[in-house]
Subunit: 180 residues, 2 copies
């Protein structure tokens, strides 16, 4: 019997847009469906997988490359994988999609959308303040570009919708597309 | 319902001892049991996960650290994971064991045993020749230590047993210990 591949919710967006918050909320919902679920974000991978990496363009690409490798393996083996990284470049997100589809996984790009101004206002980790003060180089949205997804599968506009609405939107997508 | 964790066959031994050969043979057998199976070895990870790494002590440790992270995730999600790396140091193998047991996976250390002389004789990849000629630094068994596992779960003495015998030994272990 062939095993079924998993799906990947790939949350992309600015720091502070709500990617990890959404990942955590979705994880809770999907666990009630008796799925195998794995979240990946900076806090989870930085301890071992990517601890040697900084924030230069090259390091960011390496970071996502390693995440992509892990995501591909998890998707291949049927795990619902929730990936929350800024992943600012279109090409690295496309590579991730390709890798997941290569193993018959479903790749769902979720654009977690909030304006730079809104993220500066939230500044949950105090990083924007430092970036604006020039204490952090290559900070996405301030001193480093973010390439908007031209054609995301789902947009969660966290500036104008509540987290519960975003979660429902994603769950609806997964159900309507017979992914769960 | 809680999902069952997977198990890890961790093949350790010198270059040319037969770790990947055994991994491939076991993969075939385990796939007939309808398990989810993933092999990890240098050829599989070097393209992305560890492509920045060389063979210094530090890089070798990083290499196994990343492999360990991936192995832990796969074990957590029920995948039978077959890991073939020289992994010359006791402490990194112990870290891997700890990581797998942390997620309720079973960790089985398989010492793929062949003497340096035998591996030099086989020299399947022509690496020993280069190492002896001084063209490769830090080559395990030649210019870099290999720490024998003091208490492996299984020993496959590939110098004195055929591959089929080693495979049967491992399958017997898995069945007798109710791992499969």
């Amino acid at each position: 019997m062939a095993h079924k591949a998993g799906f990947v919710l790939w949350f992309t967006g600015l720091s502070g847009a709500g990617k990890t918050t959404l990942g955590i909320a979705l994880e809770k919902r999907l666990l009630t469906k008796n799925l195998r679920v794995q979240r990946l974000d900076g806090d989870i991978v930085r301890k071992s997988l990517t601890k040697d990496l900084g924030f230069t363009v090259e390091d960011r690409k390496k970071n996502i490359e390693r995440i992509t490798f892990v995501t591909q393996l998890l998707a291949k083996h049927g795990v619902a994988t929730l990936v929350s990284f800024i992943s600012p470049f279109i090409d690295v997100r496309e590579n991730a999609k390709k890798a997941v589809e290569e193993v018959d996984g479903k790749f769902i790009e979720v654009f977690v959308k909030a304006s730079v101004d809104e993220c500066i206002k939230r500044d949950t980790k105090g990083l924007y303040k430092k970036a604006i003060a020039g204490e952090i180089d290559n900070f996405t949205g301030i001193s480093h570009p973010y390439e908007d997804p031209p054609n995301p599968d789902i947009i969660c506009d966290t500036e104008h919708e509540r987290i519960e609405q975003s979660v429902e939107k994603i769950m609806k997508y997964l159900i309507e597309n017979k992914i769960i």
